[in-house]
Amino acid sequence: MPKEIDRDGLRRMVEAGAQLVEVLPAEEYAEDHLPGAISLPLRHIDAEGSEVLDKTRAVIVYCWDIA
């Protein structure tokens, strides 16, 4: 089950090597994204998730907000 993480937890985990993934459309990623995040829009996860991301490392996903 995915775990929720807050801002401080995110920073700690990214420093420790977690992969940070924005799942919004690529245009939104291009305008603004968190430092070090990669773009993997929700609709591309099935096709590209296993290629783009390392399964041996933690992954943190985010979108715009809780909605």
Partner: protein, 161 residues
């Protein structure tokens, strides 16, 4: 959207998946840096004056007015000990009866804006609504600084030249 992404990654065999549920909005609202095409564009948080004088609800207006003016300001933000914004005094309110308490003299519940709002958007809003200054706060209401209309208009003008 991110919960679906997190669950889908788990189903694809990722064993350690986290969801930053409050997302980019939370990050931007905290005034933290970003990357991307908007990253170099001026935002409200960067332009806000961090040295704006603050005061408390129970202070006497005459005392606050002297302090604020001695610092070269004609505005002050009313905050609590956590820097949560309760009110604003611009030149007009500062010129009021000095015996009043700040809680009586202030303009309560001023409109506040988040640090990530782009300068161009802020300039339009402040000019259209004739706001000479606006508090910039984090999403939990804590003061980042006071944005002056002249600062944001100048920033937009410089950006376009």
């Amino acid at each position: 959207m991110s919960p679906r992404a997190a669950w889908r990654l788990e189903s694809l065999g990722f064993s350690e998946v986290y969801d930053y549920t409050v997302g980019k909005l939370d990050w931007l609202a905290a005034g933290l840096p970003t990357e991307g095409t908007n990253a170099s564009r001026p935002r409200a948080g960067a332009l806000a004056r961090k040295d704006v004088p603050t005061c408390g609800l129970d202070e006497r207006l005459s005392v606050v007015r002297d302090r604020v003016r001695s610092q070269g300001w004609e505005a002050t933000v009313v905050v609590n000990e956590e820097r949560v914004v309760f009110g604003l005094l611009r030149a007009k309110e500062l010129a009021g009866d000095g015996d009043q308490l700040i809680s009586q003299a202030m303009r309560p519940g001023p409109s506040t804006f988040r640090p990530y709002v782009l300068a161009a958007e802020m300039a339009h809003t402040m000019v259209d609504h004739k706001l000479e200054s606006s508090p910039i706060t984090t999403s939990d209401g804590r003061l980042v600084g006071l944005l002056l209309q002249k600062d944001v208009v100048n920033a937009v003008r410089e950006q376009s030249t």
